[in-house]
């Protein structure tokens, strides 16, 4: 049995300054990155076409580029994908004209690209693995639905936390979520991945997961608070977190391993979802300790209580 003044192995509260600073810096950098570069939307939200093609023989990416540039489809991006001789061709189509014209243009372009690649690289046997076309109307709608989804998701969670816990926990929970979501989005952009509908779904799940982690910590802090009435709040936080440490590491670890395996082995959409989740879990775990806890401490301080012994 622990002694009453023994809060456990690590003095988390004592290092709040350092980690709080790091977190603030990370969020600041991520925000700056997102503001300069913008969120890297994929075709689901921007509208456009993506063609994924695999060649049996070896094909040089420059050959594909020069081949497609002859078609005059505007700005076309060609990227290697996964295994060798597999490429993704992306384009937005026309910038001007009515939605209807844009739709038709996208539609025609697919056939043009297909025909062009099939004739120019007949020997390498192109196989069209996937074609995605999202017209401007659907793109705008997906974007709207996406924002609404994130909004309602946050709303539902906030209401739940407010009902379930003391008001002093709510800001911490929200700061955690925002912290995790922003950093994940920025990292996603930095590694050059695009945000499509499934990724948005992943980030929302992540919001749920990160919150889950935070709630478990809160739950324990609340319980510890009951056991050690009158004890200093930083002691309570330290004690709660130390007691929870194994649990936090193990559960985050298991979900992280699930996600990591999917990221490494699954490929395609699943791999992207898993990447977002793995990154998010990492920061979510960290934030449930180093962002959530200090924010409660801050709330306590604001209330005028003495936080440090």
């Amino acid at each position: 049995m622990h002694k009453n003044d023994d809060f456990g192995k690590f003095d988390f509260v004592g290092k709040i300054g350092i980690f709080g600073g790091i977190s603030a810096l990370l969020v600041f950098l991520s925000l700056a990155y997102l503001m300069v570069k913008g969120i890297n939307y994929g075709i689901d939200f921007r509208g456009g076409t993506e063609v994924q093609v695999r060649f049996e023989g070896a094909v040089n990416i420059d050959e594909i580029r020069s081949n497609i540039s002859k078609l005059n489809l505007g700005d076309v991006g060609v990227q290697g994908f996964g295994e060798k001789s597999e490429y993704v061709i992306r384009f937005q189509g026309k910038d001007t004209g009515s939605d209807k014209e844009k739709n038709e243009a996208l539609n025609e372009s697919i056939t043009k690209i297909k025909n062009s690649l099939q004739t120019s690289f007949a020997e390498q046997k192109p196989e069209f693995l996937r074609v995605d076309t999202v017209g401007p109307q659907v793109g705008a709608e997906l974007k709207r639905n996406g924002f609404l989804a994130v909004f309602y998701c946050l709303l539902v969670i906030l209401v739940y936390v407010a009902l379930r816990f003391d008001y002093k926990y709510s800001p911490g929970a929200v700061i955690c979520l925002v912290h995790d979501a922003i950093i994940t989005l920025a990292i996603f952009g930095m590694v050059g991945k695009e945000v499509n509908v499934p990724i948005l779904a992943a980030i929302m799940t992540l919001i749920g997961y990160s919150l889950n982690d935070t709630i478990v910590v809160f739950d324990r802090i609340r319980e510890t608070e009951g056991h050690y009435k009158g004890k200093d709040f930083s002691f309570i936080i330290n004690k709660a977190i130390n007691e929870m440490l194994m649990r936090t590491l193990i559960t985050s670890g298991t979900t992280f391993v699930s996600a990591l395996c999917l990221y490494l082995f699954a490929g395609g959409t699943v791999s992207d979802i898993a990447f977002a989740i793995a990154v998010g879990i990492f920061f979510g775990t960290y934030s449930s300790v180093y962002v959530a806890a200090p924010s409660i401490l801050l709330m306590e301080k604001l209330k005028g209580k003495k936080a440090y012994a």
């Binding site: 499934p198 799940t205 749920g208 739950d219 298991t254 996600a259 395609g268 959409t269 979802i273």
Partner: protein, 564 residues
């Protein structure tokens, strides 16, 4: 002990249900009647295929219809017997079916109102009249119904086209007010499918042949089918029609062809078609028709009113004049929709099709069906492709294979860790984790849900969440043991105290998943469904069942301690 028994029964029932629901995926149970036969559906991203979202240009159809209405009104007022002099008739808001009639003088106001009420009262409502200007608009209910019918007709036309294409399980459904979603699993030739989808419907008016051989048609068809060993049920309708007509051409009079009408009782043509012998030289089609709508006869009985355009009126006048007493078939995309009898010569281009006297609901339905078929030919709704997703079969299979491997590797690592770290309790956790995954598949199958690639990610996450619940419980038990509690009590306390955290985390995840389910489309919906089901099964297997197993071991089998 009562509650233990109850829990035991619940647990066993749950397991049994999960087993029964999963079974069709594992073994062939076609021959066992009392078992469910549903198998797990795979999303288009896994089985490959074509997903299209088409916008139906309803507004153009309404506009075109309004413009035609204006033209026909002008023609009506030219008739001296009507006795109304107009300055102009314009389509003031064609998209909403709004027209403006300007009279030469306000003296004709009463006459116009009477005329409009008598002739167009079922369709047009007076919106505003000032001085000599009268604004009329389609009744709101009529317009809504009209728009709806345009969509329904487009879906119907698409369905017929796609049946032609021979897709195993096509799904065509309305999405929002003016969109149609088409999913064609396993279609390899997307270009051809798209081409087929974008063809407009073809409407023909064809006279029934009076040749005596028409009476023996069913027998002729039956003989030809027997001789050639084929039937409508096993072929595409168009191929069947081509084949049949080739086979019996020698026995038919020249310039005739056999088409079928769907029998009233049949939901699909293959379940019962009635052959018609039709003349191919009638030469009257959808281009001759202006509009068609349901109207009401003098006793309020539903009928279909047809309006032919200028060119069509003359042709139709000749046709009806020469064929009084004979039947004329309305044929849409080579399917006979109706074959009314011509009662009199119709020279003014306004025809009415009266229905047979059955109950009112039936005749109303039939009138609606015929009028939409006519309109589909006269005013085909243009479709605009808004979204397309094409997945080649090899990519889907490839992704599934990779995702399976990835999930298995992840699960293995987690299981090894649980066994190593939590020993006996780890064994129970692993066991219940197995039940959990099994139950997810069972529920997915039973709900008729679709497993998509993001859904597999959801499944892998479920494993993570499920283990999370067990870790919470185990760590609690350890806490209790450390605090010196007896083993039996530690277990009780461990489960009880972990519950609040487990519920919190699962409820918040469920909340996110519900929002996703509501806003998401396709694969994302699959992800949300899997997550939601995963939460339910986690609570069942990793919490409820695991407690049940531990209780059984301790109380029934008198285990003194389980390592944790």
């Amino acid at each position: 002990m009562e509650s233990y028994r109850l829990r035991m029964s619940l647990g066993l029932v749950g397991l049994a249900l999960a087993f029964i629901w999963v079974l069709p995926n594992l073994v062939n149970v076609e021959n066992i009647k009392w078992l469910p036969h549903d198998k797990l559906n795979y999303g288009l991203d896994i089985q490959g295929g074509l997903h299209l979202v088409m916008g139906v240009d309803v507004t153009s159809v309404v506009s075109e219809s309004t413009v035609r209405l204006v033209a026909s009104l002008k023609k009506e007022f030219e008739n001296p017997t009507v006795g109304i002099t107009i300055k102009d008739v314009t389509a003031s808001n064609p998209g909403e079916g709004e027209i403006t009639i300007m009279l030469a003088s306000a003296a004709d106001n009463a006459k116009l109102e009477k005329h409009m009420n008598d002739i167009h009262g079922t369709v047009l409502q007076s919106l505003k009249s000032t001085d000599n200007t009268h604004i009329y608009r389609y009744f709101d209910a009529y317009l809504t119904d009209y728009k709806n019918r345009v969509i329904q007709q487009s879906i119907e036309t698409l369905r017929n086209r796609i049946d032609e294409f021979g897709v195993a399980e096509p799904s065509i459904s309305q999405q929002g007010p003016d969109r149609i979603m088409i999913q064609l699993p396993g279609v390899a030739d997307a270009e051809k499918a798209k081409q087929l989808i974008n063809t407009t419907a073809k409407l023909d008016f064809m006279m029934l042949s009076e040749d005596p051989i028409a009476g023996t048609l069913p027998k002729l068809v039956e003989d030809a089918e027997k001789a050639g060993k084929y039937s409508m049920a096993t072929m595409k309708y168009s191929e069947y029609i081509d084949r049949l007509n080739k086979d019996i051409a020698g026995k038919l009079p020249p310039q005739t062809i056999v088409y079928f009408q769907k029998r009233e009782s049949a939901t699909k043509m293959e379940m019962g078609g009635m052959p018609f012998l039709l003349k191919t030289d009638t030469g009257l089609g959808g281009e001759a028709l202006d509009d068609a709508h349901v109207s009401f006869g003098q006793y309020g009985e539903p009928e279909v009113a047809l309006k032919f355009n200028l060119g069509g009126t003359a042709k139709f006048g000749d046709l009806t004049g020469n064929n009084i007493g004979k039947s004329m078939a309305i044929v849409l995309d080579r399917v006979v929709k109706s074959a009314p009898r011509i009662q009199t010569k119709i020279a003014d281009g306004n025809a009415r099709i009266t229905m047979g006297g059955r109950d009112r609901n039936n005749t109303m339905e039939e009138a609606k069906m015929i009028s939409t078929a006519l309109r589909a030919g006269a005013l085909p709704a243009r479709l605009e492709q808004l979204e397309e997703r094409r997945v080649g079969p090899s990519l889907g299979a490839d992704s599934l294979q990779k995702a399976k491997v990835a999930s298995l590797v992840g699960a293995m690592i987690i299981i090894l860790f649980m066994l190593f770290y939590y020993k006996a309790m780890g064994v129970i956790a692993t066991l219940t984790l197995g039940v959990n995954i099994f139950s997810v598949f069972a529920l997915l199958t039973n709900f008729g849900a679709t497993l998509t690639l993001p859904g597999i990610a959801g499944l892998a996450l479920t494993v993570g969440f499920a283990v999370d619940a067990n870790v919470l419980i185990h760590e609690r038990i350890k806490d209790e043991l450390r605090a010196g509690t007896s083993w039996k009590l530690a277990i009780q306390e461990g489960y009880a105290k972990a519950m609040s955290a487990i519920l919190d985390s699962n409820i918040t995840t469920a909340a996110t998943a519900t929002v996703l389910l509501y806003f998401g489309t396709g694969p994302v919906k699959g992800f949300a469904v899997t997550l939601l089901i995963g939460i339910a099964t986690t609570l069942f297997a990793n919490v409820f069942l695991s407690k049940l197993i531990v209780d059984t071991l301790v109380n029934k089998f008198k285990f003194q301690k389980l390592s944790v």
